[in-house]
Every structure is written in C-alpha cells, then in structure tokens.
Symmetry: C2
Subunit: 251 residues, 2 copies
Amino acid sequence: MISKGQIKQVKALHLKKFRDEQGLFIAEGVKIVSEIIHSHPSMIEHLFATDQFIKANASVVGKSEKAVCVNEAELERISTLQTPNQVLAVCKKFPKNNPSIDISKQFSLYLDDIRDPGNLGTILRIADWFGIREIFVSEQSTDLYNPKTIQSAMGAFLRVKVHYMNLDRVVTDSNVPVYGAVLNGENIYKQKLQNGLIIIGNEANGITEENLKRISHPITIPASSANQTESLNAAMATSIICSEFFRQIKL
Amino acid sequence: MISKGQIKQVKALHLKKFRDEQGLFIAEGVKIVSEIIHSHPSMIEHLFATDQFIKANASVVGKSEKAVCVNEAELERISTLQTPNQVLAVCKKFPKNNPSIDISKQFSLYLDDIRDPGNLGTILRIADWFGIREIFVSEQSTDLYNPKTIQSAMGAFLRVKVHYMNLDRVVTDSNVPVYGAVLNGENIYKQKLQNGLIIIGNEANGITEENLKRISHPITIPASSANQTESLNAAMATSIICSEFFRQIKL
C-alpha cells in the first residue's frame, strides 16, 4: 500500500524541476526495472510493484525494505505511462563524472540541442549498439531523466554515459576531426571516416550557428535523386551515420 | 463553421473500420496538407482549416467548395493530434493497384507484421530517402491510413506506394534474393548485397516462422562486442539496412 506522501513524491518526479532538486528519476516496466535490479541495484531508492512482479522477483525484491506492494489503480496514479506495466522504480541519478573517453581514439556523438526525449532515448540505443560508451549533449537539450527518454532508451541509459557540455569544452584539441551532419556536406560513403566527434543537429533547425563553425568535416547522407523528403529525422540519421563509421573504422 | 454531421463523419475516420468503409482518411497540419494540396489536390475530399491557413493559401483554397473555415475549438474536436495545427484534410485513399516494380531489378522492403503506426511512417520516410518507390506489407500489419502513420510519414506516403500482400504473392520467382534481418545472419557489411526483397520483422517477435523459410540470405547488423542491447528497433534497423544496400548498389 502506497501512502499519500509517496504518491505526491513520485508524481513530482514527472517534472524536471523536482528531478533536479531531488536527484531522482523514474524508470518503469518489467524489462527496464528488472535490468536495473540486476545490474545497478544500488540505484534504486524505492520500488512500487504489483504482487505479480514481487512474486516473480522474490529472490531479489522479496525482503527489500525499498519495495512497496501496489495494486493496479495505485500504480496508475503514479505512472507516467498510458499502460503501466507492473512496476515503477524511483532511482538515484548517476553521479556527474568528467568524460573518460578520448575522442581522438574513438568516434562519439555530440547532440546539438536535441529536443525530443524519444529521439535522445533512441540515439542512446544506437550508441550502445555500436559500442559508443559516452556521448555529449548540449546544455539546452532534452533531459536524460525525462521518463520518455528512459523508456525509449531501454537498458541503454545504464551503459552509455551522457555528458551535458558545451562543444568548446568537449573539443579542446583542434586536431580532432569534428564531423557535422549538414545538407551540403561530403558524401558520407565516399570519404575515409576517422575517429572524432560527430555533431547531430536539432530536429527542426539542424546544428546551431555557433557549432557549425567548429565543423572540420561536413558530411551528408546522400539521398536517391528521386527523393523529395527534406531530411531524415535525427534518430534515423544517427543510425545511418554510426553504422557507416562503425563499418569503416571498427570492422 | 462545421456542422454536427461533419464532426461525426471526421471523428469516425479516427477508426480503421470507418476508414475502410468510406475509403477516406485524415491528414493534418500545415506541412503535410500543403503538400497534398500542391501535389495531389484531387485526393482532398474536405478541408477544415482555420482562417489563418485559408488566408495563407488563398490562391488554391480560397474559392474551393471543399474548404470549411473552422475555429480552434472546432478543429480540436475533430483532430487526432494533441496540438492541432491549423488544418485537417479528409482525403480519398489511393486506388488499389498491382505492384509495378520488379524486385529483381531494385531492392525493396517487405514488412512482416509491423504493428506500430509510427514505425511504418518512419520506414516510409527511409524508403523515400533511398529511392524505394514501392514497399510490401503483410496483411496483418498496421494500417497505412492510421493518422499516426500519416503524421510520422510526412509527405513520404504520397510518394512511396504500399502494397498489402502475403509474401508468396510478392516473391513468385525463386531466383530473386530474399534477405531477412535476423539475429544470426551474415554480417551485412561483409557480403555483396544484390537487388532483391528485404524482410523486416515484427517489433517484438521478428519475422514470422512461415516467412523465415523463404529467406535465401539471412543478414545481421553486427553489434559492437560491448553491446548488450538485444535488438535495434524496426525503424533503426531498416535505416541501417537500406543505407548499406544503397551504398553498395546505387552509389
């Protein structure tokens, strides 16, 4: 049974303001929460779960003081999902660490003003797939801890670190190639790609003017000549770009 | 001013049953509807638009008997969107045509039981980008005319034809390569890809057993060894696969 105070606390975490204040966020559903329980148990601050989930995970959840048994109606009250799925975890955010990767020795991503939480989550899955362990995101970008980001990232948010930093703090060595996905760049398939940083622009406006200036290698995914779509969306473009970097560099 | 009967008719089209009965569907928002007005004006059966939209498009909409001026509140009543955007068009579905492409002479897609309308729309944008003019979709797949498909496809649904057909009707020549995205296939980057049909499976269950048997070339997007995500989503996988076919065949 969940208390009124707990309902209020969890619902506050739907909003960025309270996530920032409290250093907490929400992850939901059997798949993601099971993964957190097994790989990052110390992240969990509270667990609100149905009887079904608690029974199925008795060995790890059964005796935990953090677990609160809720019914479907209670879960629905605190959930961010249209169809809640057995369990909601209130988790501690990751501690803020400095980047540990060397962008001259592997390819990584800089997301310049990504606004859609679903896109950020999807891009985390792509990074995870292609072995990118840390990515960079401009300060104005959407919140990693937005419930929609977490849901669309699935377990990838546990493996790929996200650093909110301005570009000039990321690229301090002018010898590192800075790729940027733009409309009139070089054909991505026809050039020799190297390790470096790849800037992905905002969904509607592309890369900000300030950051455009930092690009040393403008790149483009060529469209078939028959094409009339103005652009691929940010997540699709990122899939294709990471795939081509992976193919050329890591294969 | 919109009539009660019109409100009822438009709202019925939110549901597949009535779209099928009436041969009509909904497209919304300035960008998509403007594109329909200019490239496929005869598709439009009714246009419900705010004063702002009508004024901005006076030369084409101004005198049309099909245009009904609505206020924001009226638009909200008939819209499928959380935030309606100036205009809603009721359009005639495309006539059902037989496929006109030869799948031995270009690469195309077969979507096997795609369930998410947003994924179908995104895949249409990818097909459009890479010059695939017709795709095939299994009969149980989500509806092309679902408002979410249309919104996420943007103008691509006007350019890429979708045929709902079982696989055995699409592949009638056993010499045509049938690629299938599976977990343990051949590395997509390391083989010589040819024109043929590429099967993309269902979001949760992959390719159906029946269709797995038809695959002559099982393919896989290799993950970095560090990766622990079980799979890319259908739209991301399709982006990467189409990109690689395009690079090898069309470039």
